[in-house]
């Protein structure tokens, strides 16, 4: 089936250690290629688990959006499409800088790698900053579900285009915001973990790691980072875009 998966031969005890057996080759792998492909495969499988993890939240959102459509429309329109679009662009840009980081590591360009990692961290922090602003807005507007939630904005909407909701439907807007915070919160948690790891990678790259041929870690972290980007690529339209009022 996949012949490249098989080790290329029994370990030759007389082989030169420098070329084919670099220091970073672990003892249970036969070749560097095998090690690299294995690590990559492992990371992809982990990303599959992440797809299914977020999948449960998407299912809940899908269901309740259809049951309480009006409340979800109203809730969605309280989000700032400007901030959301900006965040999407920021994250896509950070994916680009991360990909450039992988490229720099592969062509053994230390400065390029450091710049790319730093930019990725910066853009990630910008994303989280904008998210904080958005969360703060929700707090101020009493849209955080729970004790402080107020149905005022939905029962007596300020914007003339908004249809006033009945009080019980307005309560279901809490469900929208619960899912909003759960999904973007889970996403933000993954971003925070990613940025933390980026700091570690930056530190290690500063001390010369990853530009000596062993690019696996940067490669695989890149996969993780792109995946977090993909989750946002789906969260953005689902939460911000699909219930927008048309421009009149």
């Amino acid at each position: 089936m996949d012949s490249q998966a098989i080790a290329t031969g029994p370990a030759d005890p007389h082989q030169e250690h420098d070329e084919a057996h670099p220091a970073y080759l672990r003892h249970h792998f036969v070749t560097v290629d095998q090690q690299r492909e294995t690590a990559s495969f492992g990371m992809w499988l982990f990303l599959l688990t992440e797809i299914m993890f977020f999948g449960g939240l998407f299912m809940a959102y899908l269901l309740y959006r259809n049951w309480y459509y009006d409340a979800f429309v109203a809730g969605s329109n309280t989000l700032s499409i400007g901030l959301g679009t900006t965040n999407t662009a920021v994250l896509i840009l950070s994916s680009f800088t991360m990909a450039m980081g992988v490229y720099s590591a592969e062509i053994r360009n230390r400065k390029g790698l450091l710049t790319s990692l730093s930019l990725t961290i910066f853009l990630g922090l910008v994303f989280l900053g904008i998210k904080t602003v958005e969360y703060h807005d929700k707090y101020v507007e009493h849209h955080i579900p729970g004790a402080s939630f107020s149905v005022e904005d939905f029962v007596h909407p300020a914007d003339k285009r908004d249809v006033p909701l009945a009080p019980d439907m307005a309560q279901h807007a809490q469900l929208y915001f619960f899912l909003y915070f759960a999904m973007t919160g889970m996403h933000a948690l993954h971003m925070i973990i990613g940025i933390s790891i980026l700091f570690i990678l930056l530190y290690q790259a500063w001390h010369g790691a990853y530009v000596n041929g062993h690019t696996s870690t940067i490669d695989n972290f890149g996969l993780y980072w792109h995946f977090v980007d993909i989750v946002w690529i789906f969260l953005f339209p689902l939460l911000y875009l699909i219930s927008r009022h048309p421009l009149k």
Binding site: Q4, M52, M98, I107, L241
Partner: protein, 104 residues
């Protein structure tokens, strides 16, 4: 049975040009999806939005995540993940859609 011929997988390095192109495509698609959200297309709004989202995701997976240059096993793996996700969504929906509650 003789040993299969060992194949060294070509380690393809994706260059900045490709990445830049994909970045521009993604940014254009983002602007498009935001703009289109303001046009009332009725039932097609969510379809177009999710469609553009899928297109962006495919570009990221193929090029930023190198699947375009990877082995068939990797492509199958990604496919398996999305397939299982779709099973979760569609088969759960099959229950809700076929209930006689008048909500759908």
């Amino acid at each position: 049975m003789s040993n299969p011929v060992p194949v060294q997988h070509e380690h393809h390095i994706v260059g900045p040009k490709v990445y830049l192109l994909i970045l521009l495509a993604l940014l254009v698609l983002t602007a498009t999806t935001t703009g289109v959200a303001y046009i009332d297309m009725g039932i097609f709004n969510p379809i177009v939005a999710l469609g553009i989202g899928c297109l962006k995701a495919v570009l990221v997976i193929l090029f930023f995540m190198h699947i375009r240059y990877s082995s068939r096993v990797m492509m199958l793996t990604v496919g398996a993940g999305f397939f299982t996700f779709l099973v979760l969504i569609t088969m759960t929906l099959s229950d809700y859609i076929s209930r006689n509650w008048g909500l759908w």
